[in-house]
Subunit: 232 residues, 6 copies
């Protein structure tokens, strides 16, 4: 099975992190493609960054399908371009926020999300409504760090994420915590142990869910709004 | 007051139609800018078309602000790029679906929407949820015409829209009908009279609502998620 | 264009404040009517006060239409009598809570409301549900002042409102604040500057929205529940 | 126990019908007051009629409390004035739409409502949202009869109500039907047998629910928004 | 009228408490059955305990119907087995959480719930959604006591419940408090007086509501999902 | 990886069908356990049947964990006993309705469900609300066949299911159809091809989703309501 992970921003370090996690946990026989556009923002911090990444994201998705990808992960927690990608390709396309929220709702009665910047909070709240997950979501919290601080070991970012998770545990009455940024994918296990609460990362979860859908023979429905783009 | 209307597709005829309607109904002292990208799809029929239009849409919004625009209308019923545009500019930015639904909810207890293609129906339904208008919205209907048929008098498109409105009147128990495409902006009055139900067009409504917000001194909040894009 | 503002309580000072704000921001060519019943409570502080004001409110609306009013603002934040008024007159009728919430949802991802008395909080929360604005509304707060304290410069009311807005900024993660009483209409600009957050007043917003709807030719739908009252 | 039923319209025949039903089903020891204002509309068919009935309704409620009433039923399916009445009196105040919907949700997984005129449909739909009953409510239907036709045996009203119930049974997949007008209170048993579905009348249900609350010592909460009206 | 109360756990002391409350407040002519299974857990603290109690609960319900019961109360705040019980018997079956929430929504604009253990909080929150009561429910709180502590006067349980109610009054902006465990049924009056807020107990409320439904002739609908179990 | 499928009813033919589908689609290295209680109903057709199956279901889950199962599928579309099972075992527990709805929401903008008997429709509708999937669910439909008809090739059940799917395609504007009974697991591919719409089966989907969660190291949260049952 061939699975593609597209990181919509242009920071290769984050792409590598996603690939590392996927390679480590993939099923026997799964091949992983991981790429990112080179003409997109270095990080996606708000609606406009997301918008600027979209054309590059689509190009990578097309390349991955040409490579043979049967399923696709969009590895940014704002879940950019899902609808458009679903029109372009045959296989399932899953966002990492989407995957993490669905998974969390099946192993806990509620969750909180810890993301990077406060400006991303309303975006993630809106996604929780769109996916039907709002009543499982206790709170979306921001550790108040720029996305790229996660790539810099000296930034103190990991400590700030940990502290925000501990605040979620203390204040939110949640039963799981979702990491709200692809750049946190390597912290899952460590944070879960330190904070004594299941910590769920969207990148890994989305890769496994795509494997599951492809393995079940479930593709994107093409009978109406996800049909290929119309010729003019 | 300077108001900009950006049609995100590249069909100048639709832009002209929007401008005509706005000029006819604007308040004394309002100046209208109307433009469209030249590198976007000829019509927006689904998620991917919408995505392809976004960078061009942003460019036009920047140009319009350089011209002095104090408020902005995005003239496509899928309301593309609202969040990103709100980050870019100071004045209010309103989508035509958003404007029409809000207005309808203040003059009728419920409405139906008549759009062009069936593939746009789920997109508009999702907008109705996002805006909190789902419980006012009886049904989103498609006249089953391509967007550009509205630009061709011989296509029979107007008749099909009219028939779909009449079905809404007969079957939906709605008290108003919203026209679900910028290309229908010139049909409002005629359809309203023929179908014996208030017919609301988003382009005109959005222009007037933007005039209202600008006139009231209400600008986009810049204190969190609509703040200008972050420097990397 | 002729626009009427009806303050449902009998405190002429509040009516004058509404008129002052409307006159200052109206479009060229708009004429403003502002009146209040003389047989209604001096302030509307709860369901019963609201009820007692209703017949007088209707009488004023009829007078205003006889004067030629094409659109109507009900200037009490509980939005009393909207449905009945919509049956009585042809033009659009907008409540100030309704106008403020709709406007806020188009320029911010969320808002809080600061009203006068705690007993009004559940009434405003219910309106937020009715209008579909509940998921935009972070919190409805009370400054714990009687309505008429706003008419008395020595009451300290303005300071209390300001302090409650500052609490909203600090605690609610909101991007705008709505003033939850017609008697606060003159404080908008000052509070917005002092509190570093967009502050939205319903009176001004409703006047501009009514101008917008009338300017767009959008009247109340008369085909079902807002049809004129039935003869017995 | 003393229970008051106030019919807000001025048609004594409907008041008598309510009293008859209540007397027949009351618990041992319950005394029934039934009255109506004389200065209200003969029937309540829409928002404005409802508004005109309110002051008279409040007067009757005050009289009933002076008589000693410990609980109150507002016998019009639009549930007018509940909030204000709850401020005025100590005992519980229940509307007949409210009572019927709550009861139906405890004995069936869903219900439809059959009311008189189409213009009342949106009013009842809004109540279903306010009470949290919207997801139990399959459809609100109108038999398309004026309220007072129910007082005239020759009007054919009963047959039309029956036919609409049969349509609900055939089309709505509902498990109970609520009669959406106080004037239908005498038809419950007959319609239930003829239509082979539990038919629930709000008048009787509200009387029994008020008996239940009073019997349980549950009164209206007076600690915030239902506290007595404030002195000015 | 014959009413049965089934306590699904095997602690007879709790059953006796329910019976005592019911006997004290029942209407003239009502006979009370109260029983519990002997093969169920001593207390119901979570999903599994609830599950283990179900077959015994059904047996008691069958016995009670054989005795002649015309209405049934399930006296555990998780409302176990309501759907199944409704299939088995003719009369109405009401849960104590269900009854308390419905009643509270008719005498207050909002309520909080105080239950025993934190693990029951998500269960009660889910019930509030199922019954449509979520927007009336400010918060579900746990006093952090095992259920059986309520049976032991030396446990300090009553004091902890009282303190949690006082926190609800101080922090939740609620207008009533619901006691979230059948074992608290004897504390209602005392806590209501001490905490200066209406305190509502589900056991008593459910008994009175069942009396009301039976008195109104309203039985469980048998036309679809509550029909008797199918023969195989 | 060891995955258990428990069919809560006692019909071994259905268990075998589930095992066959799982074996066919499992990932390399997955071992499948499939069992059913012998003391449960032959089919689960309503709330009471579901209740009667629960203790046996729990016993099988315990046996499967003793065998080494790391993840669990409850193979009945009413998703019985999920909460209790989550308390009992460490690995994730997924219901087949839950799995199918989540999956469908990621590959289609909406779905309809085709189940067996009308009495199961409200049960599935309630699950759609609980899982947050209600706004994706166009309609829950019943083919009006007993569950066990699916085990009898001469019953015509397959044809009836097919016809109901075709009605969903024609009337519901849905983009996928979910098979609402474990007994339909073998019909997926055939129905998908015949009906020209993606058909999703919960058994297969749940098996793959459990593999995904286990593969990602995601277990049931044990920090609050899914903690092991309390000792008394």
């Amino acid at each position: 099975m061939k699975i593609a992970i597209i990181n919509p921003n242009s920071t290769k370090g984050m792409t590598d992190k996603c690939k590392f996690v996927a390679e480590k946990f993939k099923f026997v026989g799964t091949e992983i493609w991981a790429s990112n556009p080179t003409n997109s923002p270095a990080s996606i911090e708000g609606h406009y960054d997301e918008l600027v990444s979209l054309m590059g994201l689509m190009e990578e998705i097309k390349k991955a399908e040409a490579w043979g990808a049967q399923g696709f992960v969009v590895a940014c927690f704002d879940d950019p371009g899902l609808g458009a990608a679903r029109e372009l390709v045959k296989g399932p396309v899953i966002g990492i926020c989407e995957a993490a929220m669905h998974a969390a709702s099946m192993v806990a009665t509620s969750f909180s999300v810890v993301t990077t910047l406060p400006r991303s909070v309303p975006i993630i709240e809106e996604l929780s409504h769109r996916y039907g997950m709002a009543h499982f979501c206790r709170k979306v919290r921001a550790a108040d760090i720029p996305v790229l601080a996660l790539e810099d070991p000296k930034s103190g970012a990991k400590e700030k994420v940990k502290n925000e998770i501990l605040r979620a545990v203390a204040e939110d009455n949640c039963e799981a915590v979702i990491l709200g940024c692809a750049g946190m994918a390597d912290l899952t296990l460590e944070l879960s142990e330190q904070c004594k609460i299941p910590v769920i990362d969207g990148v890994l979860t989305a890769v496994k869910m795509v494997e599951a859908l492809v393995g079940a023979g479930i593709n994107t429905s093409k009978i109406n709004s996800y049909a290929p783009p119309r010729q003019k």
